[in-house]
Amino acid sequence: MRRAIYAAELRMHPRAFRERFADEMMCIFDEAAEAEGALKLLIDGAISLLRQWVMRSDFWKPTLAALFTMAQLTMISFMLHLPGPVPSQANQVVREAAPTIGMLQLMLSVATLTVIVVAAITFWIARFQSKRSQPCSRRRSAAA
């Protein structure tokens, strides 16, 4: 059970790291789980997972940017729909401006979609670049 959890943790690491070290880390788990304590290794694996995604991968940047933008857009959208106190002048203005709000909603949706597409493209380019820039040792062995 613990081995399966550790294997799942390793599978969730970024691909470059996983392809390079997952087998060895699993080998260490098999060898050291009894001596070191499986729970400690599981915690270490979870910390490693966070470290690799948050600190060593560029994936979080476009995702965070997209999330923040979506949060802002949602907030603006929510504020535009906020009902005022019972028949107030402001509420009347909002009702009269219904077509404008519809247009704004459409614009916000398009903007959100654009942000998601840009984030996806940025992520795809980052992955493509990381594939091209192989580590020095691999390049050396390939050259040899």
Partner: protein, 118 residues
């Protein structure tokens, strides 16, 4: 000290221990973990996550490289690592830096404190 080595200094404790382990002979991951524990008298325990994160950085910077397996009966998943010539220079430069730190520390700690003189 060569200017090319300066960006790598000072080494972090984990990096220093890993490079020290590999200075003697090529080792596999678990071997490095055990040797770090021995070097530090059990005070510094390196987990596989920290070890391979550091190895990844060291290999990308060209300080460490893969080495052929020392034992034919080894688990095929096991890989060996060794220092490159550049890695050895960086380690030597950091050890030299640490020597100066120790020299300075000894000088200040062994000199009588100001209040003792007064």
């Amino acid at each position: 000290m060569k200017q090319a080595l300066l960006p790598f200094l000072p080494l972090s404790p984990a990096t220093l221990h890993i490079l020290l382990c590999l200075a003697g002979q090529p080792r596999h991951g678990y071997g490095i973990m055990q040797d770090v524990l021995r070097q530090s008298n059990g005070q510094y325990k390196l987990g596989p996550g920290t070890l391979y994160d550091n190895l990844q950085k060291l290999m990308d910077k060209g300080l460490v490289e893969g080495a052929p397996s020392a034992d034919a009966n080894d688990d095929p998943r096991r890989r060996y690592y060794q220092l490159t010539a550049f890695g050895r220079s960086v380690l030597a430069a950091d050890v030299e830096r640490l020597k100066n730190v120790i020299h300075e520390a000894k000088f200040h700690l062994e000199a009588p404190a100001v209040e003792d003189l007064g």
